[in-house]
């Protein structure tokens, strides 16, 4: 701000409010606020326009072909005459990668959010935040390139060993933790301390050996898997989970932070450990906010185009068996992106409109889940405020 010179010549009537001036000021205020309102409503208008223009191009498809084929058939042959437009397998592919990425990103994201909000000291948190921001900032096409050029060949050539090592590294610690807890629960009786200790050691060792065999057996099975094509649902799910993580972490961290100190302190005062406090007190209180975070994260995975287009294999069929993540799939977004190039030439055909129908479907899904997550957040805020 520039400082006004003190001795600047002022007009004598500068601060006198004549009726004329008041009127002018009121009109200016009215017009100004009106202008601001129009600009602010611009977003709402844009949302309406998006719905309208996507729907206008989507409806002719349903008029021509009806609803049945689109939602129930798995045959996708848009280039044929008269053509078949069954999008069931494509929707299934979208659902599959979304669930796959959620399975990876949700536990990881929530654990990271808890760690950020309750475990790490403030100084370390300062360094973790930019990592999350950078993960969110990397363009989707760069992730797609990574998935296609670097990760897919790796998966194709070393798929089995890769799966085995992942299994050992992730399942191993959890299985042994489960062994310790289970043997504790099994042996918690009223015997004297010495006998109980002996029994517990025996039980732990027995369970431990069983667990080791289990880990080894599954690991060996995984090791023998041959992945025929690196561009598959597993690859895409993993990369999409990287992309959904930042959203999940930051939104659930906000919601964990919103749970006040009082609840935590009450729980500590009753003698709970930090883990027990978080799992039994903080998480239930923040659960709705975390749910909202999960919904938003999943939305990123459903709506993502480039990664699935480049690395999913783009074959529209339901994998055999249905949970086979090592098979190629095709998603709604990739179909829109991939088929428009050819369909654009024949604007007005079912082939063109079916892509808008898919867009409308995506739009409705995103709209509904946004509304739901917003509702949830508002409700949680009210509950925590004690209303």
């Amino acid at each position: 701000m520039a400082e006004a010179p003190l001795n600047s010549p002022q007009k004598p009537d500068a601060f006198v409010m004549t009726p004329e001036r008041l009127r002018r000021q009121r009109i200016a205020k009215f017009l100004g606020e009106g202008f601001l309102l129009v600009v602010a409503s611009f977003v709402a208008i844009v949302v309406l326009f998006i719905f309208y223009f996507v729907a206008v191009d989507a409806i002719p498809f349903f008029q021509q072909r009806g609803f049945g084929e689109f939602f129930t058939s798995t045959g996708w042959y848009p280039a044929d005459e008269p053509g078949e437009f069954g999008a069931l397998a494509i929707m299934y592919g979208s659902g599959m990668v979304t669930i796959g990425s959620a399975l990876i990103a949700v536990p990881l994201g929530i654990a990271a959010a808890i760690c950020l909000s309750d475990v790490l000291p403030f100084a370390v948190r300062q360094y973790a935040k930019p990592v999350i921001e950078m993960l969110a900032a990397i363009p989707s096409v760069a992730y797609g390139f990574f998935a296609l050029v670097i990760f897919a060949p790796l998966l194709q050539n070393y798929g089995g060993p890769l799966l085995m090592w992942t299994w050992w590294l992730i399942a191993g610690p959890f299985v042994f933790l489960a062994v310790i807890v289970v043997s504790d629960l099994v042996t918690s009786g009223s015997q004297s301390t010495d006998t109980r200790k002996t029994i517990r050691w025996t039980v732990t060792v027995v369970f431990g050996v069983i667990a080791l065999f289990f880990l080894y057996y599954v690991g060996r099975t995984l090791n023998e898997i041959q992945i025929l094509s690196g561009t598959n649902a597993l690859n895409v799910s993993l990369i999409l989970s990287f992309m959904a993580l930042p959203t999940i972490v930051s939104v659930s961290e906000d919601s964990l932070q919103a749970v006040g100190r009082e609840l935590r302190e009450g729980s500590y005062a009753l003698g709970a450990t930090r883990a027990e406090t978080i799992v039994k007190t903080v998480l239930p209180a923040a659960s709705s906010g975390i749910l909202a975070a999960v919904i938003l994260g999943i939305m990123r995975a459903i709506g993502e185009t480039m990664v699935v287009w480049m690395a999913s294999g783009n074959s529209s069929h339901i994998p055999e068996p249905w949970f086979n993540y090592l098979d190629s799939i095709r998603t709604l977004t990739a179909t829109i992106a991939g088929d428009m190039g050819e369909a654009d030439q024949v604007t007005g055909s079912a082939r063109y409109h079916v892509l808008f129908a898919m867009g409308l479907l995506l739009l409705i899904i995103s709209f509904v889940s946004n509304l739901v997550s917003e509702r949830i957040v508002v409700r949680q805020r009210k509950v925590l405020a004690g209303e």
Binding site: G109, P139, G303, M310, A337, G359
Partner: protein
Amino acid sequence: MDLGTRKILDRSFTAVGITSILLMAAALLVVIVPIFSGGIGAIFFKGTIEHRKLQYNEFGNGDKEVMQRQIEETNAYRSRVFAMLGEFDAELESMEPAESKALRSSYKKVREALAHLFGPLPGDPEPILTRYQYGTTRWEQAEEALHDLMYVSKWDYSDPTQMAKQYFVPRTDDFKGTKLAALFPYMEENLVNMMLPEQTFYWGFITDRSLDSHIFGGIWAEIQGTFFLAVGAMLFAFPLGVTAAIYFTEYAKDNIFTSILRSANSTLAGVPSIVFGLFGLAFFINTIKVSESKSVIAGSLTLAIMILPTIIRAAEEAILAVPKTYKEASLSLGSTKWRTIVTVILPAALPGIITGGIISLGRAAGETAPIIFTAAVSVGATIGLADVFSSPTPALSWNIYNLASEHEAANEIRHVQYGMVLALISIVLLLNLSAILLRARISKKLKG
């Protein structure tokens, strides 16, 4: 449960949390490190004499005399090869038809590999495409070409339970006893003399135009296109977003209308990016016809809509972060609300607003899906500022996709793809880094 078990559970809980954060950092590294190391290879590599020839002929770079001398030096070695080919041609003519037929296909492969290494061989017709006018410009590609020349690749199908295995047979076996047999050891020994690899720093990768759809040359057209698209989007979205944020923070009353507007904002933020592309095609191009077909302006408008919610949110947060006392002081001095906003609140919130703007700029630069149908073309020259209303442009994000999955020689131009990804990631991460630094400065300043 025992206290001991509870303690173990508590520790492992902490360990899980920390591991998950480390995993995220690891994921970031796993993605970024190969892209960086691969991308550096586009600029810093061992360039052969063919690279220098190409640079001099097409872009006028380099020292002519040194190049001339090196060309003569390599030609001295290459002429032996050409002489051997000539002798073998004569020998082939004099052979029995059955005998020569068996050799012909393998000989064709030899000629192809040599043409790939050296450019057109003597006797070949002058090629039209630039990619056939020069040999391999990069040393590692020259080594691959040599391997293709020296060995025949075969597949082993003997074990039906396993996938077929590739193995290599020396090509000399085909030509035993002919005059061409001497070629193979000669090539292996003298490849360096024939190609003269030198450590090259090819800065032009960023500033040169591309030649023959990215087989040679640089990526300037893409960088410029990305710049036009992202800056164009900001020109539309930034003023709109900041104005809307002023309305939401200072003027909006707490009623149903405002909450609808806010819902609209978060809905827009959640719309999948490909749907923006569909909308851009249906509205900007097919309905109001901002341009005949794809154009920079249509792409910019589509991107502007996409980044609008981010800008509004960031600006709102920045305005709300301005201490209330500033506003109260200004109002108590008798200035009007509007004046307070313009002269007190906005200047104080400006760094925060700009931070949001920078992050949105990065997002607009990196997005692909909205520009597929509205602005991007695979191959194209740089466009002038006057063309933004009528012509489409290549852009980094789109061309990465295009070169990696649709280019006819995708495997041979991996270095160009890596270079493009590196350029895009560098742009986006530098923007984000500056935003992070800017924000750190603001929070320091607000703390006092």
